[in-house]
Amino acid sequence: MQRTEIQKQILAILEDLFEFENPGLNDNLRDDHGFDSIDAIELLGEIEKILGFSLTRAEKEKAMTIRTINDILDYIEVVASEHNQ
């Protein structure tokens, strides 16, 4: 999946499900949008749906360093790439 397509889906999720207003790719998720640990777990569930496979515990723990939407996109690309190897 192309990064632009992933970005489109993630932005739609953040706007529709998480009620982000005018999300910017480098916004700080917590400071700018009140994104917390509960949201992070919920978002991982949505990422699993995009990827089409379940994330391992180790993969989920890696996501805890995510701070921006660009970080989310990087994370999805890396996980997808590793899964396909």
Partner: protein, 414 residues
């Protein structure tokens, strides 16, 4: 340290209305909130009782997602009534977050609809790769979800009490909150209870032959507390919250004192978990009088638990007669809205406050012919003008838990 405790705000979502005026109108005009049981797509077809105390009007919650995301339906009810009383009270955020305001609030067992969702997800996706339970499902469904969603929404940092004891859930909340303030552990408490639309509660009571089944085509004619033709309880939904404050500080800030809590008693039958127990109930009523330091003759009105079960009403009548004789007016307020479960104590207390304020006592609805075994007490048979000075609100729960709250009218100075 013993301090006086007053009720300064209250709000209720009930099958007979949300706004105070709507509730009073229903009580004065004999309007029932019992409706046909809504289809849940699961259990409804197997349940014999097809009536439910229904909240069927829209409520504009307007909660931000930050707060909504950890709420099931029961927490929506709870946070709405809690917001009502906090907004009206106008307490400062400094006090709200001072640790001196606590919350005593709960429901019968959290949010059954979220619990159902969890099991549905679990079983339907058992063999799927993607089976998962939402991260917030526990927060939405746990037994103290109402209390902690209230604390989260308003930044309350004081004590949390979440007593889930079925039908005495919210009367315990108010009683335990009263004790918190009376003995100086907190200066104010938000107290109450809520329960959402739930067919599992109907199914459970239905299987115990405790639900009303004879009036499925005439929901407004049931439940019928103390009536010869009563055939059981009607499960309902709703929420009620009261703000308890220490008297001197409430007076100092110019709060409107609705009532004073002057006594609370709670005990257990110490035996059967289902059958009503005359000794346990009688003792509770007597203990409340002792705690309040008043005579039985001083009680003007009793809000009876009166679920309209065959034996429950008889035992309660015997207990009332033994303690109060035939003096106070007795009303079974569940006749208007069914049994709102964890919310019933708070709702019945709030309705009693409304009636005190407006100077009337509503009759027990559907009480056409008093059961001879319940006839020894002073039933309210018609809308009655009354200057109620002291009222008792009594509730009894599965598990053998009994409560009695005694309140004094706040008008004219508590």
């Amino acid at each position: 340290m013993e301090r006086r405790v007053v009720i300064t705000e209250c709000s209720a979502i009930t099958p007979i209305g949300y706004a105070k005026d709507d509730i009073i109108k229903s009580l004065q005009e004999g309007i029932s909130g019992v409706k046909p049981l809504r289809d849940d797509g699961l259990l409804t077809d197997y349940i014999h009782s097809r009536v439910f105390g229904t909240v069927d009007y829209p409520i504009a919650y307007d909660f931000k997602r930050l707060y909504r995301k950890t709420m099931g339906p029961v927490a929506f009810y709870a946070c709405q009534v809690a917001r009502d009383i906090l907004e009206r009270a106008g307490l400062s955020q400094e006090f709200i977050s001072s640790g001196r305001l606590g919350v005593a609030f709960s429901s019968t067992h959290g949010s059954p609809s979220i619990q159902r969702h969890i099991y549905k997800t679990f079983f339907s996706n058992l063999k799927s790769e993607f089976s998962s339970i939402g991260a917030v499902d526990y927060l939405k469904s746990m037994v103290h979800t109402t209390a902690v969603n209230i604390t989260r929404m308003f930044g309350i940092t004081g004590r949390v009490i979440a007593s889930s004891t079925a039908c005495t859930t919210s009367s315990q909340s108010i009683g335990f909150g009263y004790e918190m303030v009376k003995y100086g552990m907190q200066d104010a408490m938000i107290c109450g209870g809520a329960d959402e639309y739930d067919t599992t509660a109907v199914a459970v009571f239905d299987n115990l032959l405790a639900c009303s089944v004879a009036y499925n085509d005439k929901p407004q004619c049931t439940p019928r507390p103390f009536d010869r033709q009563r055939d059981g309880l009607v499960v309902g939904e709703g929420a009620g919250a009261v703000l308890l404050e220490e008297y001197e500080s409430a007076k100092k800030r110019g709060a409107n004192i609705l009532a004073e809590v002057i006594g609370f008693a709670c005990n257990n039958n110490g035996g059967d978990l289902i059958l009503p127990n005359i000794d346990g109930i009688t003792t509770t009523l007597e203990l409340a009088l002792v705690e309040a330091g008043i005579e039985a003759s001083e009680v003007d009105f009793v809000s009876a638990h009166a679920t309209a079960t065959k034996m429950g009403d008889v035992i309660e009548s015997q207990a009332i007669a033994a303690v109060y004789g035939d003096s106070p007016l007795i009303t079974g307020l569940k006749s208007y809205m069914g049994h709102t479960m964890g919310a019933c104590g708070a709702i019945e207390l709030i309705l009693t406050i409304y009636m005190m304020e407006k100077g009337f006592i509503a009759p027990t609805l559907n009480l056409d012919n008093v059961d001879e075994r319940c006839a020894m007490i002073n039933h309210t048979r018609e809308l009655t003008a009354a200057d109620t000075r002291i009222a008792a609100i009594q509730n009894f729960a599965f598990g053998g838990v009994n409560t009695c709250l005694l309140i004094k009218n706040g008008q004219g100075g508590a």
